[in-house]
Symmetry: C2
Subunit: 239 residues, 2 copies
Amino acid sequence: MSIVLDPKKNHLLAALPESEWQRWRPQLEPVEMPLGEVLSESDRILDHVYFPLTAIVSLLYVMEDGASAEIAVVGNEGIVGVSLFMGGETTPSRAVVQSAGVGLRLKAQMMMDEFNRAGPVMHLLLRYTQALITQMVQTAACNRHHSLDQQLCRWLLLSLDRLEGSELAMTQELIANLLGVRREGVTEAVLKLQEAGLIRYARGQITVLDRPGLEQRSCECYAVVKKECDRLLPDRLAV
Amino acid sequence: MSIVLDPKKNHLLAALPESEWQRWRPQLEPVEMPLGEVLSESDRILDHVYFPLTAIVSLLYVMEDGASAEIAVVGNEGIVGVSLFMGGETTPSRAVVQSAGVGLRLKAQMMMDEFNRAGPVMHLLLRYTQALITQMVQTAACNRHHSLDQQLCRWLLLSLDRLEGSELAMTQELIANLLGVRREGVTEAVLKLQEAGLIRYARGQITVLDRPGLEQRSCECYAVVKKECDRLLPDRLAV
DNA sequence: CTCCGTCTGTACGCTAACGCACGTACAGAC
DNA sequence: GTCTGTACGTGCGTTAGCGTACAGACGGAG
């Protein structure tokens, strides 16, 4: 089965100047991104960077004892593999598909060459990287000070922003792993949201019923990340 | 009083190619960096970037309710103000001097111009930024999974690496603010370390007696950050 | 239609860290 | 030598989240 998709669904690709776009287009390879696929392993050199179109990718840090924590999330607004052009080649974290979908990928060498032209593409990617940094900072602060309930709201909203519709296919177990908390804790938090009429949960299917309600229950962290994303990543690249 | 100092104490400056160094030298302005000084306020445009020589700077996120959390720490291995060349101009976090000392600063415009030459300076700064990202990621994970005791050890080690000697001037109150925990919690953790003979504490003066002991008590996070710093920032820039 | 695996809900004791409220003790000012 | 402020130590009740254990419940495979 071949994948039919609109590359421009990825905001970074959509923001490319026409000339770059023409050059990239034939090199962009469509890929399925099934749930759980590891796009980049900790401390391993990447051979591709990924532009999610409908998938969502989690950047995780996995501890020595196996516990994990989500550091940031990448959807159709971004790119997986920033360490490549940042010059480090590898990073101590892992990129895993959190919500199945499709995407496009580009050979690492091509990405490097394009970045090193030091033109608008570079500046676009650096701005995206700063947005990613904001997300990481906020995750750190949020992990320190906010309750599981608030964090769940933040997480739902971040995921929702990167999907079409208001459905989310995730088991509580999976969410718990990403947030780095107990599964039972997620159950409790989810029930509270359900009782409040904000979501409906049924065996791995979350339906968001009241988005503003979620935003209100969430900590400030979601709003900060959203604002920075919007500020740093205008729909069209101003050249 | 004029400040006498060796600019090459900052690893980034030390790694500059000779030609850049000659150009930068006259533009680098020595500055005192007293405890508590705010080098960059959240969401405010920077007019300088700072290269600490003997000072240590904390990057903090300050929440709406006033609580704060340290996201990363910058000493003589780095630069304060990466958001400038990353293209965002501002960031939602704050940079505060955590340990008094001296540093050098450079006008924002000059920093931009130098970065935009897209040569070795740019690549050096990007690699440093990736090291900083590693620190943020690790902070996030650490905040999630590790005990106050472990985090204190990590924090002491990170600070120690950025200072000469084994003395550290910090009150427990200040440490608590940075880690985003209670002052009493720090007291307890410090006492444990003291009883174990790893440090000596007296009214804002910490003396580290047994560094290997601290490393052993610390979580993996310190080692990961250290390793990435060493990997990404060789003493000399390979041109 | 039934069986079985996965997913979800519940319960209970435990611990780390919190919030608050004191007491103490050192250090420099006068 | 006393006085005062900052820094440090301690105690106690509270709470969020953990670990463990288990029961129900849904849904696809056969």
